[in-house]
Amino acid sequence: MRQRYALRVNGETRETEAEPHESLLDVLRENLRLTGSKKGCNEAECGSCTVLLNGRPVVSCLVLVPDAVGRDIVTIEALAGDGTPHPVQRQMVEQGGVQCGYCTPGMIMSAYALLQENPHPTDEEIRFAISGNICRCTGYGKIVKAVRAAAEEVGRAAS
């Protein structure tokens, strides 16, 4: 049975219709046309669909729409919402953390969530934070470097 849901996505309330068993990922991608979150597996194994739910990174292919109601959903589209790329986004580009780009949005959301919680992570903490995000292209080294550089940039801006 299709039902109406009101989702709070990137600071806006969005009305949509879906089956209760549909995943948040499908609703974001298909109903709301927010296709920055990718579907690499649809089985909670790759991290390409990572979004923030009340500030915490989750794989949205595993979240059912009803469970997202009443929570703050943040997707990759919001990070440069004001037109300026977030430091994680810019550093991913500058440090060479982007190749095919398919893992990139999910990877950036995991890194962004980490920096919200822990503005000065060690490399070990960065590696742990992105360990649910598979990247087949880069070998992760340049992504770790990008997150570290972004943390420094955010830290400098704050001080």
Partner: protein, 435 residues
């Protein structure tokens, strides 16, 4: 004589050697790049495939009646609906877009559905009834080499036999002070591009079939799509969409012919996006190989011979397998000067999943064998594995296994030397051979 001030000599390039930012990286980081699975066009249908799921069998019947009645279904197609040759394949056209006479691997496609939404397409796929008469599957190297075993394709299961011959093998064996012999087995690997295969096709008002696909080579796709669907080549346009990884797998046809066929039949845009499971089942993999290697060296540390056999399981289609396995054969010595060589390679059809191009292309497997042999010889001779390689590696003036004379651009010694320098700078030492 004027002084040479060209950048080649002075290294004074403006842009070569600089870390210019990739032009496509920012839009990817913003999540703005649209891969095929992100694209939507008005009136677009969604496609699903019925896969064989069984390795070998005669197709007696495929009943699509119930599937076609599912609400929202626009087309249910089988091999008899394909207007052209229905064939493709990079070395020889031995793969069917849709299986006709037989199922040859679990990854064969049997039928296609296009529907208004994915759910309807899935439901229809589930309602297709297949009557398959199972045949004994050929799954091992031994079965494939057995001339009495049933042939998967006409012409038998040994698709190709290649031979590398250089110098005098017997002489090489005689001159050897140490000989190492081993059997190596490598496994099947999947490319796992993070973007599963996808394609989007539509016929434009001028009658041209347009196909957007994450491909590694649109022109070769066109060469394969046109005859398979009985179209003139200038009526097919293939556009590389942003691609979420390929690693050799998207060299082959993936979604192209399927979406193309559905778009032709329905006259509507059709999008096909694989699930991860489908991606792991269908299309190509890395060849499993069995390699028997015997290698010799003299007391002074020089290699004397290589005597080897390489068997590659290319599955139910050759794809690029014939080249992969032939390449493994001519790279079986590794980057060393080996004066006497006998290597035979066999490209074998089986009812396993098709193997094709994957990053490393046969040399990945050969290196497992040749480098293991190198270390064992070094240990037997009491030499450092690094010094043993430096002593034997190709240098300008020496010839490869195919007799190709090395000249400029022969960098193996430089890479070995770089590792040697690294080890001494970091005070790293091998445990073996024991002093």
């Amino acid at each position: 004589m004027s002084e040479d001030t060209s950048p080649e000599t002075t290294g004074a390039y403006h842009w070569i050697g600089k870390n210019v930012t990739k032009p496509d990286a920012l839009e990817k980081a913003l999540g703005a790049t649209e891969y095929v699975g992100d694209m939507v066009v008005p009136g677009m249908l969604h496609a699903k495939i019925l896969w064989a799921g069984a390795p070998h069998g005669v197709i007696r019947n495929i009943d699509t009646k119930d599937a076609a009645r599912v609400p929202g279904v626009a087309a249910v197609l089988t091999a008899s609906d394909v207007p052209g040759t229905n064939r493709y394949g990079l070395a020889v056209p031995d793969q069917r877009a849709l299986a006709d006479d037989k199922v040859r691997s679990a990854g064969d496609a049997l039928a296609l559905v296009a529907a208004e939404d994915e759910e309807a397409a899935e439901e229809a796929v589930a309602k297709i009834k297949v009557d398959l008469e199972p045949l004994r599957p050929i799954l091992t190297y031994e079965d494939a080499l057995d001339p009495m075993a049933p042939a998967i394709h006409e012409g038998g299961n040994v698709f190709q036999h290649t031979t590398v011959r250089k110098g005098d093998l017997e002489k090489g064996i005689e001159e050897s002070d140490v000989i190492v012999e081993n059997a190596y087995h490598t496994h099947r690997m999947d490319h796992v591009p993070m973007e599963p295969e996808a394609g989007l096709a539509y016929v434009d008002p001028s009658g041209v079939l347009n196909i957007l696909v994450g491909t590694q080579y649109p022109y070769r796709d066109r060469r394969q799509i046109a005859p398979a669907l009985d179209l003139a080549m200038n009526k097919v346009r293939v556009i590389q969409a942003p691609i979420g990884g390929g690693f050799g797998r998207k060299d082959d046809i993936t979604a192209e012919i399927h979406v193309g066929l559905l778009a032709l039949k329905t006259r509507r845009p059709v999008r096909l996006v694989y699930t991860r499971e489908e991606s792991l089942i269908a299309n190509t993999k890395r060849h499993p190989m069995a390699m028997n290697f015997r290698t010799g060296a003299r007391k002074d540390g020089l290699l004397t011979f290589l005597d080897g056999d390489i068997y590659g399981d290319t599955g139910a289609g050759v794809s690029l397998g014939a080249y992969v396995i032939k390449k493994a054969g001519i790279h079986a010595t590794g980057p060393y000067d080996v004066p006497n060589i006998r290597v035979d390679t066999y490209t074998l059809y089986t009812n396993n999943l098709v193997s094709g191009a994957m990053r490393g292309f046969g040399v990945m497997q050969a290196a497992v064998a040749h480098e293991s042999q190198m270390d064992q010889l070094a240990h037997r001779l009491g030499m450092s594995p690094l010094e043993f390689r430096i002593k034997n590696c190709l240098k300008p003036g020496l010839a490869s296994s195919t007799g190709q004379l090395m000249n400029e651009g022969c960098g193996i010694e430089a890479t070995l030397q770089r590792i040697k320098d690294y080890m001494s700078a970091h005070d790293l030492r091998f445990n073996r051979p024991h002093a």
